[in-house]
Symmetry: C2
Subunit: 225 residues, 2 copies
Amino acid sequence: MKSPSHPRDRGIPEATVARLPLYLRALHGMAERGVATVSSEDLAVAAGVNSAKLRKDLSHLGSYGTRGVGYDVEYLVYQISRELGLTQDWAVAIVGVGNLGRALAGYGGFVSRGFRIAAVFDADPEIVGDDIAGLNVEHIDELEAVIKRRGVSIVVLATPAAAAQEVCDRVVAAGVTSILNFAPVVLTVPDGVDVRKVDLSIELQILAFHEQRKAGGPLMAVDSQ
Amino acid sequence: MKSPSHPRDRGIPEATVARLPLYLRALHGMAERGVATVSSEDLAVAAGVNSAKLRKDLSHLGSYGTRGVGYDVEYLVYQISRELGLTQDWAVAIVGVGNLGRALAGYGGFVSRGFRIAAVFDADPEIVGDDIAGLNVEHIDELEAVIKRRGVSIVVLATPAAAAQEVCDRVVAAGVTSILNFAPVVLTVPDGVDVRKVDLSIELQILAFHEQRKAGGPLMAVDSQ
DNA sequence: GTGACTTTGTGCATCGGTTCACAAAAGGAT
DNA sequence: ATCCTTTTGTGAACCGATGCACAAAGTCAC
């Protein structure tokens, strides 16, 4: 006996998960402009991907389109939001209030997607007590207590590189299993803890690599976003 | 007749390029600590990858290791730097001096890798003329002139979403072919222009997806960085 | 020089992801 | 009710990346 098609099979490919937020953003824009339904072709253009890929991605969530018509914008927004877990709100803590931490605390894109900044920490007594984007900066000593008290489940690390692993260990010990790391270090975490990293300097280095190629011999053209 | 092995074949896989900066960072750390040679195994651990992958990546640059010994740290730093184009310095411009633009302008990780912030632009007359991390904020009207005068070849977009495409068009028209985009929009660019995007909110959404899964049924463990 | 040991570089199997291309499904017109 | 048009959902081929496993190449001790 073979498995009889996988309509709502659990196990969405990682590459698909990474694109769902992109589709969601495009769909939100369309909803605002009053668009009621959209074809895979149009949505693909808006999201900057190819339409076959888009359809295959969406098919992993279920059959939410209508052949000959397209997808209902509102309904698709809801389905993707639910799949990504954005129908609940997430308490996020930011550790490290340097330039970057400050920028992240004030970044509107977080709040607008069901993420609520529940706490901001720093080790510097000069900074503790300051008001950053309406939040009181708390001392790193309070880390574990505040995380537990406010139900923080996602932590953003914006500390200096040297402090990142130690803070990481502490938040993991406090029960956090999702970390977004901006510090330029490789974090070591136990199984079951999910770390994503963003390294601004790596992105520039990749651009420099391609830029150098273009300058050297103009016979390659690259476009990836 | 078959092609007789590809020792310094041009055409390094994209996945490899994306990891080279990681290796470089680990190697810099080792050089500072006075380590002279390193095995693929040790370097792989420091960079958070598996050693077979590391060796295959390095083999794309050439045969820079010594069997039975490992890689010479200094030499490898040089080879990777050269390959990435970091032996020259790159003039970078930042457009948009909001929270994020400010943080980027002050980010030490750029300067330390051969990237020099050559200009900072904003449209707001209130901000133009301000001093950000030692740089004079210039008006966006000067964009094209300054880019050309100072030989800017990489532009970082930190503008509001609504302004990003227009600024992008202008910098491309001014001859820039490498763009790092922080605005949450899909940029349209001509062939030959390289765009990389960093979207902070997308990273959080991906974490939320996995976090939701963990909460729902604790039978999957993920770790990807 | 010989042999024991270490570590690289790579052939090969495998896997996940992308793209093509088309049958199946839905809607609208007559 | 039938035909024509549109667009989805997916099977299958393809492509790039990963990881195993080992031969080749080097070092070191004697």
